[in-house]
Assembly symmetry: none
Homo-oligomer: 132 residues x 4
């Protein structure tokens, strides 16, 4: 089961609204359960370098069916998944990637990049909550 385009567009809209409310400019990316791109929006003036980061956050979350912020502690020097970012053409393991769930099933993920990781995560959460 996969997030639909209609759901993805609701996510993008809610995320943009939240981003504007906290005075940030974000890249927002939605992928399906196979980590394939469904929808994307770069707000005017958002960092170009965050296009790829938003995408990689979404893909990382969907590939491992967990929010990217969960992975952060596991990838530090000495930790069990140290340097896992070298796989899959590049992962991003800091906050801003959030899984999308239908019941217990992960049906995709949203990734956000453009501000602090706390802001990024908050905007991704706001988007995910609006999936419907």
């Amino acid at each position: 089961m996969n997030v639909t385009l209609e759901q993805a567009q609701r996510i993008l809209q809610a995320a943009q609204k939240k981003a504007a409310a906290i005075d940030t400019k974000m890249n927002i990316c939605v992928v399906d359960s196979g980590s394939n791109l469904v929808a994307f929006a770069r707000m005017d003036g958002a960092w170009i370098g965050s296009v790829d980061i938003a995408h990689k956050k979404a893909r990382t979350a969907a590939w491992f069916t967990m929010d990217t912020k969960v992975m952060g502690p596991l990838v530090q020097p000495g930790a069990s998944l140290y340097n896992i970012e070298h796989s899959n053409g590049g992962l991003i393991t800091f906050p801003g990637g959030v899984v999308l769930k239908q019941g217990d099933e992960v049906i995709g993920a949203v990734g956000v990049s453009g501000s602090t990781v706390e802001d990024d995560h908050a905007v991704a959460e706001a988007g995910a909550a609006a999936m419907g």
Copy 2:
């Protein structure tokens, strides 16, 4: 000068409407004048393999400030630009990438993939015409 997100979203909507009208399922991608991603939509059931093709069509059109269908004849065996597709991490040189113009200036491009190249081009044109 670059296409705005608002313009890009109008393009995505018009392209989806056209795609539905001709009974196709499309991937639609908008990039700015620097070939950086602005907005994207994959219609439910559209080919996943067309995600990258739509993106590369848009990037190819923006990189060379011409519709991708113009390049097709030039890249055939024996023609002057044969195998140019090996540059820039991969080009797509068949129809479906259309430049976005403000007056004479190229401010971005839209790329569409998911059906025949004629359909793809028609949907990209419909999108571009709605930029506003």
Copy 3:
């Protein structure tokens, strides 16, 4: 708005002059606001491995509209952007990438590599100051 070739060439010349003054051999790279290459010079005897580093420093600064030295503390183990370098085909997050500004707008960036990061940054600053 983008840095022009004439401005880029002034940057390259000033950077080379500074590099010679402090007895170093540098790779110097100028990109536009979309992180696309505008001009480049490798001084005779400069490290070949620094060609790509100068390029990535310039791209990183332009992609995120900030000097690369600002990013260093944020990408350390345990810090919020740890391993962000895996995005965008590779970032460089130590000093030597400096944004180019016209008023408040970032119109490109210069990246320098070939000596200590302090020297690299000083040469990049000298280049940026000569943009005109």
Copy 4:
């Protein structure tokens, strides 16, 4: 033995002069005998997609110590080097890459992209002739 930065800059200047004389906007790239970047210039308004093509033409010429136009016939369907472009991260085998020679020795190459392949080659030749 390698082309020097001073020689490369003479090449860039002569190539730009020729490009202007025939009313074109070019990307011009000089590499050394090891196919490593020495100097580069993108004329204002030149295609961004030609940045990589100019680079790949120069690298292709230096890697095989022959002008890229020599390779064109050899890479066609059925010919002996068909699809050699898949090697080395991408080759360009149409005109516009010209070797730089000191006596009989190839000391680098210049690659030009931005117009027809005939124009590209003419500008590369004009650059090479000014190496000194």
